[in-house]
């Protein structure tokens, strides 16, 4: 059985700090290192910011649902929206050597999560599944 936490917020950037706080608290329950927790906090924040920017095109009146689930083996975070369909095949972060504004969020997401995948079965909106495999504290 997994432990789960669900956070539902309006698609307004002011709620990103709340999502970051929940992410940090959830990680602390599972004894993740400060470094991994910081990376997860940034990655979840970037994923939710992408929902506001791209799926909702800045509309702050919509809904974002973030679900946290953990087992002994992994941490799964699901981010759901009802906005414009993402096109993962077109998503790629900028070349890190090409210094310009934007294009970093996806790098921050992919560097910490082992799996980053959109649920293609979802008919309306998006469901982004992020999985981080857990190791023992000694391995962190």
């Amino acid at each position: 059985m997994s432990d789960t936490v669900t956070v539902r917020v309006r698609s307004h950037p002011q709620y990103l700090s709340l999502i970051r706080d929940v992410t940090v608290r959830f990680c602390s329950i599972y004894g993740l290192s400060e470094e991994v927790t910081a990376d997860l906090r940034l990655a979840v924040d970037e994923a939710c910011a992408n929902v506001i920017k791209h799926a909702y095109r800045g509309d702050t009146s919509q809904r974002i649902v973030v679900k946290y689930a953990a087992t002994a083996r992994d941490l799964r975070i699901t981010i759901e929206d009802t906005g414009e369909k993402a096109r993962p095949e077109l998503m790629q972060g900028r070349n890190l050597d090409d210094i310009r504004p934007g294009g970093l969020g996806l790098h921050f997401i992919k560097r910490v999560f082992d799996t980053v995948v959109y649920d293609q079965k979802r008919k309306n909106g998006n469901r982004l599944l992020l999985i981080k495999h857990l190791r023992s504290r000694d391995e962190d």
Partner: protein, 109 residues
């Protein structure tokens, strides 16, 4: 996030505190661009009390740097906490920004 603009030894210094994210970075962008429009030769951003930065915050500084480079101005960062520095390093921004240990080191180099 708190933004304080002051002078230190004749240089403009922007001291930031708190979290720089998608919510707070538009206000930071506005303040930075107003300062840069005055074409300072040196602008120092002090990160001592910054606890978090995301890609929107980084984009704000990259934009500021690009503006300052058009007139050979210098955008310098000082007192960057380790966690923030790690993000700059991963993003390879430690190679493009002038990163200084202390405020004094920034204004003296």
């Amino acid at each position: 996030m708190k933004i304080d603009v002051g002078d230190y030894k004749g240089n403009k210094v922007v001291s930031l505190a708190g979290e720089i994210d998608m919510h707070s970075s538009p206000a930071l962008r506005e303040r930075l661009l107003v300062l840069i429009r005055e074409r300072p030769q040196r602008l120092v951003v002090n990160f001592r009390d910054v606890s978090y930065i995301d890609s929107s915050g980084i984009a704000t500084f990259v934009e500021g740097l690009k503006h300052m480079r058009t007139y050979n101005g210098r955008l310098q960062f000082s007192e960057i906490p380790q966690g923030i520095m790690e993000i700059f390093s991963f993003s390879k921004l430690d190679k493009v920004f002038e990163i200084c240990g202390t405020l004094d080191e920034a204004v003296n180099c």
